[in-house]
Symmetry: C2
Subunit: 307 residues, 2 copies
Amino acid sequence: MSLVEEHAAFRRQLVDARLLVPSSIDGLYGRSGAFEDIVEAVDRQVVAAGSDLKASRFRFPPILPTDAFEKTDYLASFPNLTGAVSTFTGDDRQHAELLALHAEGGNWFAKLNPADVMLVSAACHPAYPMMAGQLPADGAVLDVYGFCFRHEPAIDPARMQVFRQHEFVYLGDPSGARAHRDMWVTRGLELLDSIGLDAVSDVANDPFFGRAGRMLATNQRSEVLKIELLVHLYGGSGEGDSGTAVVSCNCHLDHFGASFGIRTADDEVAHTACVGFGMERIALSLLRTHGTDPGRWPQSVRRRLWP
Amino acid sequence: MSLVEEHAAFRRQLVDARLLVPSSIDGLYGRSGAFEDIVEAVDRQVVAAGSDLKASRFRFPPILPTDAFEKTDYLASFPNLTGAVSTFTGDDRQHAELLALHAEGGNWFAKLNPADVMLVSAACHPAYPMMAGQLPADGAVLDVYGFCFRHEPAIDPARMQVFRQHEFVYLGDPSGARAHRDMWVTRGLELLDSIGLDAVSDVANDPFFGRAGRMLATNQRSEVLKIELLVHLYGGSGEGDSGTAVVSCNCHLDHFGASFGIRTADDEVAHTACVGFGMERIALSLLRTHGTDPGRWPQSVRRRLWP
């Protein structure tokens, strides 16, 4: 079976088992209660893994202001994955034109205007604006959990256009940021192992866009800024599968600190780091590894998730 | 204090109490852990109120396919509230143009192309496509909970651009739909009363857009299709405040049944009805009524929410 056939077969399996509800768009699914039960159980593990950090909990909506989005440099790095929101701002007459255009199958999106908001690309992005200014002496740790959008229609159910990331974000000095990142490589592997997932860590190689992007990707790799925890979902037939990143541990250096005006207690530009748990991908890894009926998962895994 | 001043004062209070995190956009907020605790407690009440319905639970992402959105008629009724998603689909050279336009403060949104998805306007919308076809003999009830987007920047914290609705949706015959709607008027009022909120029901008068919209609004009112449960958040100073709708109970007649091809067991076009609990608005009503420190809410309310 080719990799593409494996993707399609797994998707079919998930739909047949009533875990995911397909839509007319690849990568966009409804989740059944049974699927959500798994996500919620995994989330309790994530919360437990970070409970000693006394992180401040925040939940942000799936959109953020365009001016905040613009400070993340995402438009330069991943323009093809972004989601910009437009709306209708015209009058009665223009509304009639809009509906006529829509009725004849025209591009009515072109008649809309920017709504000053974008879809969230990474769960931590909306949190940085509120951290502008000076941090406490030992920095700050945030617990954020929210929906992310990435426009990359795909058959592989592990490549969704909308998915949830649960993140722990550190803001402080360079060594604290590096330590946060490294600690979460260890904790992430432990968490995945405890629920019966066979994961490995590797230096990430993000699909930065275009020519400028290739340089950024090389930098990211040579500076070992981002480490991903990968689960091997496909390739059982021997075909190469580089693994699916289910957790990512990321050092941003002073990128967000500089862009959002976040400073340490010593008045240096803050460094930041985050771990992001890909909630749907972990749920899918469980379903792929242990089977699509959670009632028949290994006792050790069930006891861990539903004690 | 004028109504506008009351809105601004309440917002300031919520921000000062670290319940909401403001952003650069009116109506777009982060939620603190303390605020989420309230939402989660209210949600347990909502779930309990519908537990006898044996509803099928589904969770949909905050975006839906444009083709599904188009079947809801929202573009005709509320074009000004919609959120259409665009993305970059060009090559390296066009990316350079995009970034140059962005750097000089131009309208770079105009260089994007439709991403085939829209922001969800009502939590139940993404659920209708999967119900196409024939329903079981006694219809179906769905439990859906998700984020909604409505582009209406406002100072009033109860008018957010992104908020959550928890809905119970009935699909079946006309009398079943009417009964579902009416039952939830009663249950909704009971729920609100049980947490110390003084609510009244009233026939809704939605802000349909433009001239055609005024006719639709008249129909909605004369046919008594939508009943809202209102809490009086403002107007303490005597100025007119029509109340804030925290729950809405809605008969759609055969609108969604016809658009999405949903039929009853008797092969008639299905009628649908839904109740939507506005989770942020109920949390805000509690904070407005009982004060911004949940630790000091009346014992009866606390015992109900955190037994």
